[in-house]
Each structure stands twice: as structure tokens, then as C-alpha cells.
């Protein structure tokens, strides 16, 4: 009875010590009554035992209720039964009744009839120490402690005490019966839920840490996948109430495969992976919770877990029972007289702090804190302070997205202290240095959750006074859950709250973590929605915040998906060029400024560029481009240059006359603006008309001037890029040279970042197309750094460097320098580069090198494996590579010895294989290569056998005179082999050749004529059937006539 009464009965918390009117208590009382009655009937002797002290309480019974056996005098009643000293065993002096034995007690209850429940309740309420009164302090103590091992008999041998001991035993039995009865009743309600199972597992995981001292080796789920209802068991097993499966590795026994189900936990036959149906079978008893199961299976665990928490030693059954009662959500007083709630015994037993932070687990990015929640096993002291009633609510996963939800959380009846304790714990786990304002922020966020509009605005203003740009502060706000609260404010209709919230958000959103959180919490949608509100301040702030958040792809996509681009474009509509603006118009401009900032952030994604265009953003940007304000211009030009990667924008920039404004702003005194302008020109000026416009608006000179700002590398990269693209137009090169651009560029060939180098080298390459400039490059000692750059790895740079080296090599003096620096070898080795662009560009560069080098043949031969490498590149599938290699081969083949090597490497069949191409560029260089390779005896016949003649004849149908030239040359060479002549004749080569003979190029005439002559010779020799009308005479006449 002792344990039952103190532990299981649900006392009210008011402090007056009343038993609550709960079904639980009612059944408990009934049980007590039944036991008392039983005691009297079954053990008459023991029930006669006189209590050490009478039980006394105020009764509702009156004298008239008592019948025989009682001495009734007016109001007072005395029992006839007396103790050894003649004192009555029952005495009533209204309203108090004194009872001194179980028999009297039982009789009294009998008299009370229907009121006996009431009587029992009052009796127990007023005799909280009933056992002490019945048995005396010593026995009661033992019973309370439930220490059944210690037998009190050996200490007390008097006869009286023998009865006492018996009574003691009886009471003890009674106690146990009561408990098991209650347990039965409760166990009907026992139901684990996923959240509870989860937290159990989390706490067990805690035990796996701590090296040698750990209680378990490991605990893990069989499946990482968690269904939305929190279960991990596959759906067909969830039907059976199963929640999840665990594999636990205790320190002393083999692995335990455990099933957690709503009915309790038990061992299963070993579920390793989903699928094997047999594994789900139950192989052990069902336990109420994981620790109990583990204790029964792992002696080591049982032993050590008790060591960790020796304070509690009641049976685990009682404990789990009280847990269940709490789970039912009924407030319970654990120990009479104490005001504080006890922790859930299940947890206190393991020395754990209740996982109050569990709710956070659903919070993105907070998993860390959730898992480490129990890191303070040693903090057992704390637990006494924890409120139980908060436990069930906290453990249920809930997404508190709404303001109401947030408030509900915060109003969870946990006290201030524990909240703070918990917070500082979490803090430790994330290992962020607390900023000095941490507690202030904490308080502010708390007020934000609870405050009305006025308080909210005050708190937001106080928050704005913090150093919100500081990372520590941002992380604190994030850590406390401030982002969520701020986002919730956006969904309210209070303009002032929204303004305040956005003012905070726009600052803290400089932190990527916060941006990510805003995105995860669907905050962007709320912010975009605000763009529709009619308040300009609000729109501006929202746009500014979007500008900050949309720094990563997913956020940009989200802005587009919820219609943000369109709304942002609408903000741009203002008149920025007005001289005297009204305050209202000024506001419009400010809104537009924020809008364009947001668009700038968003424009880093191609589909957003398209969305801006579709929403009509280009003309609006064009209008803003005329603004005199640098702050406005920077994002506008920034957006434009970002979008200029798209063809449609480049056309728009040209057609809407934006080049003029861009050029104008090149002379701004703001580096960033200059940079964006130059960058925009860089992206647009590949177009001939655009680069003409740049010249027309005098944009070339400011570009050259920008080369002087060598300290700003971004600006330098943009400026050199613009110069490069503009210098594709020769008129621009001439103009540039008026300002000595080339000299400045050459000085930038060393010690520059890669993107500057790419552009500089590209520009020099364009300049080198003019003969005079090639000399300048040499004189300014530009070749040396260029050759050095050939050893770089950046492919874009290598393409440009090889191109430029090639362009320089056209000048023989330059070539001498290049050879001296072993430039050919460097270029040649780039043929091995993985990029086809670099390969082709290097091959192109080789052509002028070989042509202009003094002892080219020698140089080529000195490159070990070089010729084999180049021949093998004929197997490439890239047309540009093939064309460039063919061109290089034709240059190499001019040297007889090298040609021999090429022939050895089977250049003939490889070239022949390519002849089916229709690509004109390849045709040209292929024909050239074939022509040159024919110079080696035997190759002519091999080519013929490989079937190159017929396709070559077809090349003559091309309109390209260069193709004609090289094809004719090749055919002439091939015609020296009689068999080829026959094929040529069959393909009808003569007619086009005769037309070609009409050319003004003497070499070409001769080749064509020579070819025809060879065919004719074969015909005369009778190997070809006579041609219809053509004779040598005509050919000669044609040839000489020219």
C-alpha cells in the first residue's frame, strides 16, 4: 500500500494533498477498500492488531449511523472493543473519527455503505503517513523502501511484533496486488509511438559514446528511411503496429535485433534488410521499453546503467507505469509534499535529461542539436527541475510553421531556467562562439513570439540596434529560431511588423546559412508576396531581401517559380532622369533600385534571364541605364552584362542604343560601374555592328585608359576583354593603336590573374593580324612572355596563346625568336592536350611556324614522336582538329625527309579516309595535304588505290576558290599516276579544269593544264577512250591566251 499510495496515486498539485478525482484514483481506492475488507475476513488475528497511532480524519458519519457494539452518547461514539489498556479502538467525536485497528476500520467502512469511497479518500488524504501510524516508523520505513530482503523479524522478537510482522507481510502483499492490478489497467493504455521510440533510440545512442566506459557498442536502425508518420518499418509491417527495427550491439553479448512496436519492444529473428519475411518474427517477451529489454539481455548494461543512476531503486515496473500515466497527459504528483515534478523515471533511471529539444529535429539544419541532446548524461541533478507535462508535447514531432505553432511551443510549460540550460547546451553542440548579445537576442525572439504589434515593433527596433551584419549575431538569431519568427511576421498583415521584420532579414540574409533557412522555410514565397503590397517601403525592403537571398541557384529558381521575376520587373517602372523629383517619385526610384538589385541576383540563371525579358524588363533596364546615379547604374549594368550572355539581350543592347550609355559610363569614377560596363561590352562586342558602335561613341580610348588601373583585377579583366573583342574589327585596332594599346597590353603579359591573361593574349592575337603590330610585339619583348605562357594549363588561355604565337610567327624575325625559345616544341606538345580546341589551335599555330622557321625540317625531326603524334590526330572526330592537322601536315610534307616519315606512319590511308567529308574547310586543307603528300614517290598510286580521286574531283563543284586551288594542285600531282588519270577522266574532271584554267592565278592555270595534259597523254597512249571534243590544243590555247 505504501508504494502504491505514494507513487501511483495521483495527488493534486495544489499542495493541500487531495486525491484527484481521476478514474485511476477511483479504481485505486476501490482496490484499497477491497483489500481492507479482505484482510478483516481472512486474517482476523492480524486485523485485531492495534495501530501505533490512530488513523484520524473528519468523517461524514454521525453517531446515528453506528449500531450495536458501539457505545453511543449523543454525538460521541466509542467502540465496545478496547485495547489492552482499555482505550476504545474506535472513537467518534464529530467530525473527527479515530480508528485503531483494521477490524474497526473495516466495520466502519461497512457502516459507511455507499459513502465508503468518500471515507477512504478522506482517510488517505488526511493520513498521508498511514503506514507509520499503523506499524510504527521502523516498519513503515522498510515497507516504503520495499526492501523485501531484510527481514525485520530478527530484530524484534516480542509477541506483539510477531503479529506486526505478519501484518506487515500482509500489507506488503496487498501493496503488490494493488500495483499489479493497476499495472494491468494501465498496460491497456501502453502504446509506444514513433516519437517515443525515436527518443529512446537517441538516448541509447548516447550510451554508445564514451570509449571504454560505454554501455553499448552501437545502436542503429535497419533502415535510414523514415516515413512521414515517423515510422521506419515498411508499411506492411506498420499494419502490425511495428515502428522500427534496431540492431543493438551490447558490450557483452551478441547483436540484438529489436523490433519497436506500439505494443512494446521485443527481439526479432533478425531483420537485416527489408524483404525476408521470416525476420520479423517475435523471439522474446515483450518489454515496455528499450532499456528494460536491454537490461534483461545484457547483464553488463543492467549493471552499469544502475551504477550511473543509483538514486532510484524502485522496481522498473512501477516506473514504467508512472511514465505511462504521464503519457496519458494527466498531471501527477510524484511525491507528496514536494512541489516540483519529477522527471520521467524512465529517463532519470538512465541519468538522462528529457529530450526537450526534440521538436527542433524537424527544423532543417538542426539535426545536430537534436542528436547531441543527451550529451549531458552527467547532469542528473538537473532533471529534478524538469517539467514532465511538457514531455509528451515536446516529443511529438511538429512543424511549427505558423505563428500560433511557434507560440504554442514557447508557452510549453517549461520554466525559464531549463530553457536557458537547454539553449546553452545546444550552443555547445554547434560550437559557435556566443556573441555578447546572445541573451538579449534570446529575449527579443521570445518577446516576438508573444508580443502584439506594438511589442513586436519595439523588439524589432531593438534588434536593428544589434550588429546584424556580424556573423555571430546572425548565427545567434538563427540558433534561437529567430528566422522562423521573422518569416511568420511577414505573413501577418501588419505593415509595421513586416517592415521591421524585413529590415532585420535584409541584414541577416548576408549569411548563407540564413538564406538557406529562409529558402527551406518557404520564406521566399512570403517575401515575393509582399511585392504586391501597396506600400513602397515594404516593396523596396522585400526586393532588397530577395537580392540577398537569391545568391544561390535554388533560391533563384524559387523566386521565378513563385512569380517573383515578373513582380520585380514591375518595380523598375520609374522615371530616373527627372531633374526635380517629388518625394513620391524619389521613392519610386528607390524601389526600382532595390528591384534591380534583386533582378541582378536572379539574373545569374539563364531561365531567369529569359523571364526578365518576357516580363518586359529590357526596355525598363534601358531606361534606368540613363539614371545619373551610380548606385542605380551598378546593378542595372550588372544585370545587363550578366544577361548579355544571351543573344537576345545582345541584340537588344545594340538596338536600344544602350552601347552609348555603357560607353559613357566607362568614364565613370566608380571602378565597379566601369567594370560592369566593360564587361557588358566584352560580351557584346563580338558582334561587328556593336563594336563599330563602341568606336562611334568613342569608347575605345576609355577602354585603353582602363588598362592603367592594373590594381583592380576584375576591372582589368573586363577592360582587356572588351579590348580583345573590339579588336576583332581592324578599324578598331587602328584606333586602338593611336592610343598605344598594344604596348600596354604587352606589359600585362606577366603577373596577372588567368582571366586577365586570357583576354590580353586574345587581344594581342587580334592585333598581331596587322603586320606592323607583329614587329611591335617583338620590339616590346612580348614574345618571350608569350612562349612562357605556353606551359600554362588553362585551356582557354592556351587556345589564345597558341593563336597569338601563330599570328606572331608569320613575321620571320619573330619566328627566329620563337625558334630560339624552343617555341615550336611547346606548341607541338600542346597537340597532346585533352581539349580539341587547344589541339586545333596548336596545329594552326604550327603552320606559320613551320613555314617561316629557317630550318623547319630539322626542328620537326628533332621532336621525338612528333610526327607520329600528328598523324594519329587524323583519327580525331573533330572537324576543326582534322582541318588544322591537315594544314599542318601539308606544311610538314614540304620537307622530303619528314614526308617520308609521315608516309611511314601511314598518313596516306588516314587522309584518304577523310575525303568523304562535306566540310569545306576540311576539304580545302585535306586537298592541300594530299597534294603535298603526293610528292613522295608511290603515294600518288596509293592515294589512287585508296580512292581519293573521285571525291577530290567532286570538290571542284565547290564555290570556294581556295578549295579549287588546292584541289587542282592535288589533282595535278595525282594525275602523274596513269591509273588516277583514268579515274579522273571517268569522273568528268576535264570540264571543270578547263574552267579553272581561266583563272588569273598562274600557278593554278599551270596545275589545271598540267593535269589535263596528263589525262590527254594517257588518252593518246590509248589507255583512255577518246574524249568527245577536248584536245590538248584547246588546253594549250587556253593556257597561253591568259
Amino acid at each position: 500500500m505504501g508504494v502504491t499510495l505514494t507513487k501511483a496515486a495521483q495527488w493534486t498539485s495544489s499542495g493541500t494533498g487531495k486525491l484527484e478525482l481521476t478514474p485511476m484514483n477511483e479504481s485505486l481506492l476501490k482496490e484499497v477498500l477491497r483489500s481492507v475488507e479482505q484482510l478483516f475476513s481472512r486474517h482476523p488475528q492480524e486485523s485485531e492488531h492495534v495501530f501505533e497511532e490512530p488513523l484520524q480524519w473528519s468523517t461524514t458519519l454521525v453517531a446515528s449511523d453506528f449500531k450495536t457494539d458501539y457505545d453511543i452518547s449523543e454525538f460521541n461514539v466509542q467502540s465496545n472493543e478496547k485495547d489492552s489498556e482499555g482505550q476504545p479502538l474506535l472513537r467518534l467525536s464529530p467530525p473527527t473519527v479515530y480508528v485503531r485497528s483494521f477490524s474497526q476500520l473495516s466495520k466502519l467502512l461497512h457502516l459507511a455503505a455507499d459513502k465508503k469511497l468518500e471515507e477512504a479518500r478522506t482517510c488517505l488524504e488526511e493520513n498521508r503517513d498511514a503506514l507509520v501510524k499503523i506499524l510504527g516508523p521502523r516498519f513503515a520505513d522498510i515497507l516504503e523502501r520495499e526492501d523485501t530482503q531484510t527481514d525485520p523479524v530478527d530484530e524484534d522478537t516480542s509477541e506483539d511484533s510477531e503479529v506486526k510482522v505478519k501484518l506487515f507481510r500482509l500489507l506488503q502483499n496487498m501493496d503488490q496486488q494493488l500495483l499489479s492490478k493497476l499495472l494491468e489497467e494501465i498496460s491497456e493504455h501502453v502504446r509506444l509511438d514513433p516519437a517515443a521510440a525515436n527518443s529512446d533510440v537517441e538516448s541509447l545512442k548516447q550510451f554508445c559514446r564514451g570509449g571504454d566506459g560505454r554501455l553499448l557498442k552501437s545502436v542503429r536502425y535497419t533502415s535510414d528511411y523514415e516515413f512521414s508518420n515517423g515510422c521506419r518499418a515498411p508499411p506492411w509491417r506498420q499494419v502490425h503496429g511495428e515502428i522500427c527495427y534496431l540492431i543493438t550491439e551490447p558490450c557483452d553479448t551478441e547483436d540484438l535485433h529489436i523490433t519497436c512496436s506500439t505494443g512494446g519492444v521485443y527481439l526479432n529473428a533478425g531483420i537485416k534488410q527489408e524483404g525476408a519475411e521470416s525476420g520479423y518474427e517475435r523471439t522474446s517477451d515483450t518489454y515496455t521499453d528499450l532499456p528494460t529489454l536491454l537490461k534483461s539481455r545484457s547483464p553488463y548494461f543492467a549493471e552499469h546503467i544502475n551504477k550511473q543512476m543509483p538514486k532510484k531503486d524502485s522496481t522498473s515496473k512501477t516506473q514504467s507505469k508512472s511514465v505511462q500515466m504521464e503519457d496519458q497527459g494527466q498531471p501527477q504528483r510524484s511525491q507528496a509534499g514536494k512541489k516540483k515534478y519529477e522527471p520521467s523515471p524512465r529517463w532519470s533511471n538512465q541519468g538522462l535529461v528529457p529530450p526537450c529539444g526534440k521538436v527542433e529535429e524537424n527544423n532543417p539544419g538542426r539535426e545536430k542539436s537534436g542528436k547531441k541532446k543527451q550529451a549531458t548524461g552527467a547532469k542528473g541533478k538537473l532533471k529534478a527541475e524538469f517539467s514532465l507535462s511538457s514531455l509528451p508535447g515536446r516529443m511529438t514531432p511538429q512543424k511549427s510553421k505558423t505563428l500560433a505553432g511557434a507560440m504554442e511551443l514557447s508557452s510549453d510549460s517549461s520554466t525559464e531556467d531549463e530553457d536557458e540550460e537547454e539553449l546553452s547546451e545546444r550552443r555547445l553542440q554547434i560550437q559557435i562562439e556566443q556573441s555578447p548579445d546572445y541573451w538579449l537576442i534570446y529575449k527579443l525572439v521570445k518577446f516576438l513570439k508573444r508580443g502584439d504589434q506594438t511589442a513586436t515593433v519595439l523588439c524589432l527596433c531593438a534588434m536593428l540596434d544589434l550588429n546584424l551584419m556580424q556573423e555571430g549575431c546572425q548565427l545567434d538569431i538563427w540558433d534561437i529560431g529567430g528566422v522562423e519568427v521573422l518569416l511568420n511576421l511577414l505573413d501577418s498583415d501588419e505593415v509595421k511588423c513586416q517592415i521591421g521584420s524585413l529590415k532585420v532579414l535584409r541584414k541577416i540574409s548576408h549569411s548563407m546559412l540564413i538564406c538557406q533557412t529562409i529558402l527551406d522555410m518557404d520564406g521566399l514565397q512570403s517575401i515575393v508576396k509582399i511585392l504586391d503590397r501597396p506600400y513602397k517601403d515594404l516593396k523596396a525592403l522585400a526586393a532588397e531581401t530577395i537580392a540577398n537571398v537569391a545568391r544561390f541557384r535554388k533560391a533563384r529558381t524559387t523566386v521565378r517559380r513563385c512569380g517573383g521575376i515578373e513582380k520585380l520587373v514591375k518595380l523598375l517602372d520609374c522615371l530616373p532622369t527627372l531633374a526635380n523629383m517629388s518625394p513620391n517619385q524619389e521613392k519610386d526610384v528607390e524601389v526600382a533600385h532595390c528591384g534591380v538589385l534583386a533582378l541582378w541576383s536572379c539574373s545569374k540563371c539563364n531561365r531567369n534571364k529569359e523571364a526578365i525579358r518576357v516580363a518586359g524588363g529590357i526596355p525598363l533596364l534601358g531606361r534606368l541605364l540613363r539614371s545619373p546615379d551610380v548606385n542605380m547604374l551598378i546593378p542595372v549594368v550588372g544585370t545587363l552584362q550578366e544577361c548579355a550572355s544571351e543573344e537576345c539581350y545582345r541584340i537588344a543592347i545594340k538596338n536600344e542604343d544602350m552601347i552609348k550609355d555603357l560607353v559613357q559610363n566607362l568614364s565613370s569614377d566608380n571602378n565597379e560601374l566601369q567594370m560592369h560596363c566593360a564587361s557588358a561590352i566584352f560580351k557584346c562586342a563580338e558582334d561587328k555592328e556593336t563594336s563599330d558602335l563602341v568606336r562611334k561613341y568613342n569608347g575605345l580610348e576609355p577602354l585603353v585608359l582602363l588598362l592603367g588601373k592594373a590594381e583592380d583585377k576584375k576591372l582589368l579583366a573586363a577592360a582587356t576583354g572588351a579590348i580583345w573583342k573590339c579588336s576583332i574589327c581592324m578599324k578598331n585596332v587602328a584606333k586602338f593603336q593611336e592610343h598605344k594599346a598594344l604596348e600596354s597590353l604587352i606589359s600585362l603579359l606577366t603577373d596577372q590573374p588567368i582571366d586577365v591573361l586570357i583576354n590580353v593574349v586574345g587581344a594581342i592575337g587580334e592585333f598581331a593580324k596587322v603586320a606592323a603590330n607583329r614587329g611591335i610585339i617583338r620590339k616590346c619583348k612580348g614574345i618571350n612572355p608569350l612562349i612562357n605562357l605556353l606551359t600554362e594549363t588553362n585551356q582557354a588561355l592556351l587556345v589564345n596563346v597558341t593563336k597569338t604565337v601563330g599570328a606572331c610567327a608569320i613575321d620571320r624575325d619573330n619566328m627566329a625568336v620563337i625558334s630560339q625559345l624552343d617555341g615550336v616544341r611547346f606548341v607541338w606538345s600542346l597537340l597532346k592536350n585533352s581539349s580539341t580546341e587547344v589541339q586545333s589551335s596548336a596545329a594552326w599555330a604550327l603552320c606559320p611556324c613551320i613555314e617561316n622557321a629557317k630550318d623547319a625540317g630539322e626542328i620537326v625531326r628533332s621532336l621525338v614522336g612528333g610526327l607520329e603524334l600528328i598523324v594519329n590526330l587524323l583519327k580525331s572526330t573533330n572537324i576543326e582538329v582534322l582541318a588544322s592537322i591537315c594544314a599542318a601536315i601539308s606544311k610538314i610534307a614540304k620537307n622530303k625527309e619528314n614526308l617520308a616519315v609521315l608516309t611511314d606512319h601511314e598518313v596516306v590511308p588516314l587522309l584518304a579516309k577523310l575525303t568523304n567529308t562535306t566540310d569545306e574547310r576540311l576539304c580545302l586543307h585535306l586537298a592541300e595535304a594530299i597534294g603535298h603528300c603526293c610528292m613522295w614517290e608511290g603515294n600518288k598510286a596509293s592515294f589512287g588505290e585508296a580512292g581519293v580521286v573521285a571525291p577530290l574531283v567532286d570538290y571542284l563543284k565547290s564555290n570556294n576558290s581556295a578549295v579549287h586551288y588546292h584541289t587542282t594542285m592535288a589533282l595535278y600531282q595525282l594525275s602523274k599516276d596513269p591509273n588516277n588519270c583514268i579515274t579522273m577522266n571517268e569522273k568528268g574532271v576535264v570540264k571543270p579544269l578547263i574552267l579553272i584554267m581561266g583563272s588569273d592565278d598562274e600557278k593554278l592555270q599551270e596545275a589545271a593544264a598540267g593535269c589535263v595534259r596528263n589525262i590527254r597523254l594517257q588518252a593518246l597512249a590509248g589507255k583512255i577512250p577518246p574524249p568527245k571534243k577536248i584536245s590538248i590544243g584547246t588546253a594549250k590555247r587556253c593556257g597561253k591566251g591568259l
Binding site: M407, S413, F447, R450, T454, A455, V457, L458, C461, P534
Partner: protein, 215 residues
């Protein structure tokens, strides 16, 4: 009857002319409209033949509630007090028009002055801790667990003082208030909504001015 209304209209006309010269933000026609509304509001008691000195507190509060959705008693009293410049517990025509001029169309400076007066509950030119506490008392939802339910409000007051009390004398002078608001406009209505929002202003002006133009 018609003569009386004609006379009344005439007097309104003249009054409007004088007032519109004194008050900044309203045209003459608008002032006329406002005075019209004023008399309309007084209408009930005038008909009973009692001497009418002006708009009393309860009528004024009804107006604030109906037209501008204000609910906070303390703030509404403050607004009345601010309108009633001569402290005679009535708002007369001049006070009415002048008050509304700030209330509906005031510049930032005017509104700062107005709000300060509303919040200065005892008219001593300072907003004291106690006054703040009074005004913010209901601004936080109580938590059942809190031992002292006013603790949060007290902290809020201290926080606000720390922010706005530039001269560190433990109370807000007008200069403190003005400086704080200039720095952060959100603080204008720091201790409770006492100005109408844009939609309510529009609604009110539409209702009063347009109605008066027609007859």
C-alpha cells in the same frame, strides 16, 4: 427650417474660411467637409436642445473606433487629450480641424509631436517608465509559467528606454523621442497605434470630403 440650415451653412462657410487659413493640410472645401462631419457627430445632442460645447470624450472615442478601428482605451484617451488642446474635455471645431490635419496628413515632425503627446499620459512633457509600462502592459501574451507576469513587460520597457533615452535620465523627453523616431521611423508609434493607416485615411477622406461636395 431651411433658413436655419442656410444660416448654419453660412456660418460653417465663414468658419471654414478662417480655419483653412490657419490649418496647413486642408483646402477650404475640405475644412467645410470636416466641420460638416463635426456637426453631424454633435447632431444627436444638439437636437435635444442642450447647450453644446463640443465633441465629448465618448463620442470622440466612438468615432476613433468606428472610423479608424482603434480599440485601446488608453490610447484613445490619449488621442482625445491631444486633440483637446485647451483641456476643457471637449473638442471644439478648431481643435477638431487642427487635430485631424495632423492625424490624417501630418508631416513626420507633426506626427512625432502628436504621438509624443498621446503617450505622455500625465501631460508632464515626459514619457516615464510607469507610463510606458501602463501602455505596454497588455502587449505580451502571458505565460502561465511565469512567476511575475509583468516581468516581460518590464524588460521590454527597459529595452525601449535603453534604445530611446539618449540623455539617460530614465525617461523620454520630447527630444529623445524625436531623435529616436528620426533614426528609425518604426518607433513613431512605439507605444501603441494612435495614427490611422493608409487605407483608413483613404476611406475616411473619401467618405467625408466627397459627401460634402455633393450637397
Amino acid at each position: 427650417m431651411s433658413q436655419m440650415t442656410a444660416m448654419k451653412r453660412k456660418s460653417i462657410h465663414t468658419l471654414a474660411e478662417t480655419l483653412s487659413k490657419q490649418v496647413q493640410h486642408f483646402s477650404k472645401a475640405e475644412v467645410e467637409g470636416l466641420i460638416g462631419l463635426y456637426h453631424e457627430l454633435l447632431g444627436g445632442s444638439a437636437a435635444q436642445g442642450r447647450a453644446v460645447t463640443g465633441l465629448d470624450r465618448s463620442r470622440f472615442r466612438t468615432l476613433l473606433y468606428n472610423m479608424f478601428g482603434m480599440t485601446d482605451d488608453m490610447i484613445m484617451d490619449g488621442v482625445f487629450r491631444t486633440f483637446d488642446k485647451d483641456n476643457d474635455s471637449f473638442v471644439n471645431e478648431k481643435e477638431w480641424v487642427e487635430g485631424l490635419s495632423v492625424f490624417l496628413r501630418g508631416t513626420l515632425d507633426e506626427r512625432i509631436k502628436y504621438c509624443f503627446n498621446v503617450y505622455d499620459l500625465n501631460n508632464d512633457s515626459y514619457i516615464s517608465r510607469e507610463e510606458m509600462f501602463q501602455m505596454l502592459k497588455e502587449s505580451l501574451i502571458r505565460q502561465p509559467s511565469e512567476e511575475d507576469p509583468d516581468e516581460g513587460v518590464k524588460e521590454l520597457v527597459e529595452m525601449t528606454l535603453k534604445k530611446m533615452d539618449y540623455d539617460h535620465d530614465g525617461r523620454l523627453s520630447f527630444d529623445d523621442f524625436k531623435k529616436a523616431v528620426k533614426e528609425e521611423n518604426l518607433l513613431l508609434e512605439a507605444f501603441g497605434t494612435c495614427l490611422p493607416d493608409t487605407t483608413n485615411i483613404e476611406k475616411f477622406e473619401q467618405q467625408v470630403f466627397q459627401k460634402q461636395v455633393k450637397p
